[in-house]
Every structure is written in C-alpha cells, then in structure tokens.
Assembly symmetry: C3
Homo-oligomer: 280 residues x 3
Amino acid sequence: MGSNWDIEASLMAVITLLTDFGLQDEYVGVLKGVIYSINPKAVIVDLNHNIEARNITQASHLLKAAMPFFPENSIHLAIVDPGVGSDRAILVSRQDGKYTIAPDNGLLGPLWEKYIPEKVVKLNNQRYFRHPVSRTFHGRDIFAPAAAHLSLGVKMDEFGPVVKPDQAVDLRHAKPTWHSAHSISGEVVWIDHFGNLITNIELEDLVRLGADRAPEGIQVVSGSVCISGISESYSQASSGQVLAIIGSRNCLEIAVNQASAASILGLVSGSVVSVRKLTL
Amino acid sequence: MGSNWDIEASLMAVITLLTDFGLQDEYVGVLKGVIYSINPKAVIVDLNHNIEARNITQASHLLKAAMPFFPENSIHLAIVDPGVGSDRAILVSRQDGKYTIAPDNGLLGPLWEKYIPEKVVKLNNQRYFRHPVSRTFHGRDIFAPAAAHLSLGVKMDEFGPVVKPDQAVDLRHAKPTWHSAHSISGEVVWIDHFGNLITNIELEDLVRLGADRAPEGIQVVSGSVCISGISESYSQASSGQVLAIIGSRNCLEIAVNQASAASILGLVSGSVVSVRKLTL
Amino acid sequence: MGSNWDIEASLMAVITLLTDFGLQDEYVGVLKGVIYSINPKAVIVDLNHNIEARNITQASHLLKAAMPFFPENSIHLAIVDPGVGSDRAILVSRQDGKYTIAPDNGLLGPLWEKYIPEKVVKLNNQRYFRHPVSRTFHGRDIFAPAAAHLSLGVKMDEFGPVVKPDQAVDLRHAKPTWHSAHSISGEVVWIDHFGNLITNIELEDLVRLGADRAPEGIQVVSGSVCISGISESYSQASSGQVLAIIGSRNCLEIAVNQASAASILGLVSGSVVSVRKLTL
C-alpha cells in the first residue's frame, strides 16, 4: 500500500510550463495534450505564458523566483527558444531537488548561480521524442514528451549524455555592483502587475549593509526618487506614499502603497537603483 | 472501498483561486506550487486573476456569481488584499456547503447577504502558515497553505478562534432602490467580455414587478436607452438590436444581439438602470 | 487491477475547453465547477478562451489544429455559439477517436473534411442537462454537463438521436485554389502570437508541387513579398530575414526569423498567398 502510494505520487508529479507562447493560439493546449497522451496522471501548472517573445532573461528571472515553491521532483519546462530548429542543445538538469528542461541558451544561468546542478544531460535520445519531429515546434515534439516520460520515472541518463554545466551557454545578466562596503548599485529587473519595481539587489546584499539591524539607516535612490529606510509592509506607508521593501522574491522593491510605482515614479526596467548605508 | 473513495474524494477537493494578480508574474504559479507541496492531489481551478488591482467589490460580485456552480466542500480562495501586511484579519468561513478564505475587508459581504455563514474563524494558527511569513505575499504564505490543509481534512476550528460574522468588516455595495411597488432603480455592476451590461437588479426583483407573468409589460430605461419587454434569449432580438434579458447571473442584463452593448450604447459601470411596470 | 486501472483511466478523461469567453468573467471557471460537480476526476485543459467573440471560423481552425495531439477518447468542448438560446442544435460527435461537443453552426466543418465522423448525435436528452436551463448560457447548462457525463462513460446514444453529418450546418471556409498543376493560391487564415502568418495551404499541396523533392524550386508570393524556397527552420534564415516554412500546423507559414512577420510585412488575415513551382 505504501509503495503503491509512492508509485502513484510519482505518477502525479507536477510539470510546470513557462513559455513565451501567449494564450492566443493552440500551442499551450497542444503541449498539455502531448503530456497527457503519455502520462494521463500528470499534474500540469501554467507557470507563465506571457514572457515577452524570445526574452530569455525575463524567463530566467521568473523561473528562479518560482521554482523554490514547488514540490520535490517537480519538472519545470522552460520553452523560450529563439534558436528552435538550429543545433542548440536542449538540457535536462536537476538542481535543488527539481528537474528543468530548457534550451541551452543561458536560460538556466541565474538558477545555476544559486543552485549548483546535481546533473545535466543533453536531451538527444530520439526514443523519447514525438515523431515526426518538426523544425518549428520542439516544445511539442521534444520538450513536452521528455517531461512526460521523466514524470513516469524515466532516469535522466536515458535522455542523453551527461554534459558539464560549464559547457552550457551562460547568460550574462545584470548583477549589482559594490562601490564600497557601504554602497551598492543594481537595477530594476522586473515590474510586476501591481507596478512594483523589483531590483536585482537581494536580501543578502541588504543584510551586508546592516539593513536587518538598522533598516532606518538605509537610503535607496533611483533617479529623482530618494527613500529613507526599509519598510516592513506596504501598509506601513500611507496611501500613495513611496517605500522600499523586501518583496516576495526576497529582493529590494520600490513600491507605492495602494498604487503603481512604475506609473507614478517613471522608472523602467533597467533603471539604476543605488543603496547606501548612512553613517549616522 | 466506500470509505477509501470518500477519503480520496476529499483529498481531491476543488480549490479555486480568485485574485487581482494578473498573469504577468510568477505569483499565480507560486500559489499552486505551495498548494501541491502540501496536497499533491488537490484540484485547482483558476476562477479569475484579472480582477482590477485592489478592486474588492469586483471580486465580491464574481465570487458570489460563481460559487453556486462548484461542488460541495469546494474551497474558494479570494485574494484581493490591499491591506496585506497590516493587521487586517484573514477569515476562513463556510456557507452554502462551501469554504472561503478571504481577507476581512468586506469581500465576503455580498456573499453573506445571500448565504448565512455557518461558521467563521479568524485564521491565525501559525502551524498552518508557510514560514518564514513575508509581509508582502500572504497569498503564498498564509492563504494557500490554509486552503491546502483544509483540503486535507483539517477542521475549521484548528485554524483559529470562531468570530461572529457581524464582527467582520462589511462591504458597502450598490443595492437597487424601490421607488414604488412598480418602479426600481439599480446600476450596471459588471460589463462582461461580450459587452453585456449586468445590473444588480435580480430575478426576484423582476418577479416582484410581475415580469414572470407579463414580461412585455416591463420597461427598462438607462440614459437614452429605452427597452420594452424582457427577452428570453439573445436571438429573440434581431442582429444589432438592443434587448433586456435575465442573464446567467440571474440578474437583469442589457445586451445587443451579436454585438457589444457597452460599445454601442455608451453605458458604463455605475450607469443607473430603471425598471418599471407599465400600467397597460 | 487491470480493469480498475481502465475504469480509473476512463474517469480521468481529458476534457478540453475552447470558447470565446475571454478570461475577464467567471464563465470559464463556472464551466469547470459544473464539470467537477459531476466528475471530480475529470482532467480539464483550457484549449483557448481568446477566440474573437462569435468567430466560428477561428475556432474551427484552432480545434482542427489541436485535436490530433490529445489522447484517444478525449472530449473537446467548442463553445462559440452566437445562436445560444435559438433552436440551433448541439451535436455530440466522434471522429478520429475523439469526442466533440459543439453547436451545429458549422464549427466542425473543417474538422469533418479531414476526419469523417464515426457518429453524430443531437444533444437533446434533458436528463443530462443542468436544471433550470438558462437561455443565455448553454455552455454551463448543456455543454459542460454533457461533457462530464460522457467522461463518466455515458454512451453517445444516450444523449439524443443519431443525425447524419450532412444534415449538419456546414461552414464555408477558405480553401486554396489550384490554377494549374504548378500554381496554387490560398490565404492567411491565422496570425500567431509570434506574428507568423499561417496559410490554408497544406503540406500535401506543397508535396503536390514537388516541394519535398526540390524545395528551392518553390516561389511564395504575397503582396510585395516574394520568397524563393522553403526553409527547414526559422534559424536557417538570418535574423530579420523573411522565409517560408512548413509550420507546426503542417501548413505553409510566412515568417521572419527572430521577429514578427505580421508587423514587418504588413500582411493580414485574408491576404492572398500564391505558391508556384518554378520551371528551372
């Protein structure tokens, strides 16, 4: 009974889909049809289909932010693949107890900075492809079938040869710069649905500046915006007031309580954000 | 066998998600990851993620309209929560055989007008939270884990102390006004994807006016629009013709057959709609 | 054990939803609530809800493109139903091993050109309706309950009398025209999220022109665009270059590598596309 449960639980592995397909066409539905054709018990989650077309960086940030909240052994498909049909590789990897299947175009770079991959294989065993394989829709013909087979218990080694992560294409992405032990500059890397401006300055960086002990001694500056102190919640500011906060991605956010900081402050993706510790 | 089925059936409880998160970020996906991490057999339905940011009224109307169509014991998360991180309470309640988990900001007011809550508890037992609890994303750290635990059979009393519904914040929302036994005024409270103008005048109100016995004796007026009679289907009007109808929410709608009433008639959310019984 | 699996597998039948409802209202969620109320083990896939309001042709193309990728016995609801509430019939049919439930408004025409229906019945057995049946939302009251009952093993004959497909309303839709054995004209019938222009000229047509043996001898012309040869992948063209390709729908597409052909070329839905074999 115990082992039946295990088998069943593994058959019900969560498969998440992250694409730049949008929701206008049949493409996302077709991915699911292919997966259910192979594993009718798969549990499929739409992680996001609104990634800007071909924006690998955006997808890499979102995947890194979301993956920690999924169960052990979940399988994360990331199909932002401008090189589809070329000879770019597709990688199956395992890190932090979860699987990813993504093109070798750097999408996994930010994730691998945080979680060292336990194993990476190049997906080239045609036995696990859907045939005939098109040259335009590898999501349907290669990624989705591989995810479904993985959810049925096929071992990583079955999909192709082990490759070293450092053989994989790396993605350059914005990292904050330390100017001194008291000053760091980063940038806005994501603007969410509420207009919150999410930076690449992480909680760890702020702790290094002493923000955990003396949050009121921190100054956040971007363009003409200057904020003193780090707030603990949006509602700590009055309505319409700008604030700095550690957001749900564990990164520094500039926000406006009850409104869109992006609309009000005129900051955009790429805007430089500087943080310094005031010597009081 | 019977009891196994029961257990299984309860593990497969439907959890619906109603938020103002939109679909641009990882937030909705993360809610699902948290739920499946606790109950891998949960059945999750996206009720709606396109509620206008912080629009509690809109969410309350949608939840009230949708809940009756879900199975007994389904669990409805409603996360439109401008007060996140403040000391506003989160309530777990049961009404009409279904559970809701929502902030105590009045979102449940319209629902409770229709269905008297059987029990309401304040969700404050940290045992059922995800830790650490952020100050910006209680959806992920409090609402979603509570829904998952509830779907696994945790009793309402486990989540926190019973509170009286009348201690809960009530939401003022537009109700129609009776001018005489023959005349009522309401307003447009929802414009759907097809441009149908849905009012807060309910079937019961129209029955009180005699619309069930003599629908042709009813006159509906809004701005310069004047409609005689209540139609039984859109196609009863010719193409492009305006009509009044009892729509799928069991409320009076102003519609145009094969077209968008909102675009053609220039009526908006809040437009006053009057209905009277003609004395023939 | 084997037969338990079969029963379970059949209970887990995939039901897909194709509508023009959009995602602003509760309508899609309500369909799912109704289905799970009848079959809690249903597996529901959103095929597409962004069909243009009342655009039957668009829905018919998408359904035909997506259906082959779903498992045997999957059930495809297609609710683009401008005649809701009129006396138009609703059909349950089976073709290519899959079920469809759709209004008899021609939506299934293109599908039936490709797959001869094995059986078609008129859905009129009120036993399988949700009551009371509204005049405005048959998706909720007739289509969804029928899909759920079908997924529980109710036989097609139970739903109503067999009708001949040729009694069903047919949809006129654009077909390509052969001018000679060396020349064919079709049109753009779909523009996808990436701006790829998908035509109604199928792989078979191109094979007839000899494109499989000598793809470089094919010329594709639309407006001022003239393309020589059929590419095998988007990346075979350089970035920003226009190309012709057999896309994932197995139809001729005009695309621009790494960009939107629709934006760059100014072609629209309905633009004529001609293909001819060059006599070299």
